[in-house]
């Protein structure tokens, strides 16, 4: 069971109050992009055993989207942060480093 805290409304709830929205921080490649870029954007996803960044929606609460960092192995939630960010914030990354030294996620570490 995941316990998430929504950064938009401050409520802490368990995962049935939220809805998972897939991998976070995707860069969209649309019309005019190369086939490789489009394939990457469309189909290729991180599938780590460990630190992972995801999009979540507080579907039964305030209805807002946000980002969450969690461990896919232990289901530990490292933290949540606003949707209006292009990469995980430094303080969260430092917190993850303290818990999981040497972690990396795609180009992020």
């Amino acid at each position: 069971m995941l316990i998430l805290t929504c950064p938009c409304c401050g409520q802490t709830g368990e995962e049935s109050e939220f809805h998972a929205g897939g991998e976070a921080h995707l860069t969209r490649f649309g019309p005019g992009s190369s086939d490789d870029d489009f394939e990457n954007y469309m189909f290729m996803r991180q599938n780590p055993k460990g630190v992972h960044f995801e999009r979540w929606r507080h579907v039964y609460g305030c209805g807002k989207w946000f980002h969450a960092a969690r461990c896919t192995m232990t289901l530990e939630i490292f933290g949540t942060y606003p949707a209006q960010t292009l990469e995980p914030p430094p303080d969260l990354r430092a917190k993850i480093s303290a818990r999981r030294p040497g972690w990396s996620w795609g180009a992020v570490s």
């Binding site: 409520q11 709830g13 109050e17 039964y60 305030c62 807002k64």
Partner: protein
């Protein structure tokens, strides 16, 4: 105009560990916009007598209440007959701001659960810590109850008010009745 009736005609259940009742028609106005705007705060205050509440809170006084729904939304509770007048006044006061005030009274149902075991009934249905220490008067929580979306707060001692979609009213009532059935005290609150 046709006569407005509630979804379940004020149905009641009093044969359990807590009393469940559908409350009469309640005026509800959704107000969306930047809640930090002074003009919005002023408009809410002058129409309800209440300040825009802080995150996760509800302000209530008599027939009026203002509930914090999300970072850009509050729900105004008022007498059913006052809704159109208040919306007209809000629209006039906020004509230059990017806001929306909509009558949602007929889209919702309002229930009350009362009695010393009211907290136990809520705890059975919502994934929320409703112990006296955690959930106190003045707090407002949007969550799910079993399989439907709901929002609730403490209206009075041992009395919860629950808002859900009108189309879910029967489901919500049945749910509350089962959770409040005789002999189902939990003994944790």
């Amino acid at each position: 105009m046709s006569k407005a009736v509630t979804a379940l005609n004020g149905v009641r259940f009093t044969d359990g560990i807590a009393d469940v009742a559908e409350l009469p028609m309640q005026g509800m106005i959704t107000l969306r916009g930047d809640l930090s705007m002074a003009v919005l705060k002023k408009a809410v205050k002058s129409n309800t007598g209440l300040a825009v509440p802080d995150q996760g809170q509800v302000a209530q006084d008599g027939a009026f209440a203002v509930a914090w729904m999300s970072p850009d939304e509050v729900l105004i509770l008022c007498p059913y007959g006052d809704v159109q007048g208040i919306i007209a006044k809000l629209d006039k006061a906020l004509i230059k701001a990017h806001v929306l005030a909509v009558d949602v009274s007929d889209a919702r149902a309002l229930f009350q659960i009362a009695g010393v075991h009211a907290r136990a009934v809520m705890a059975k249905l919502a994934p929320v810590d409703v112990s006296e220490r955690s959930f106190q008067p003045g707090m407002f929580r949007r969550t799910r109850m079993a399989q439907t979306a709901a929002a609730f707060w403490i209206a009075d001692t041992d009395t919860f008010h629950i808002i859900c979609f009108r189309s879910q009213a029967r489901y919500m009532f049945d749910l509350l009745c089962v959770a409040a059935q005789k002999g189902s005290e939990v003994g944790r609150f």
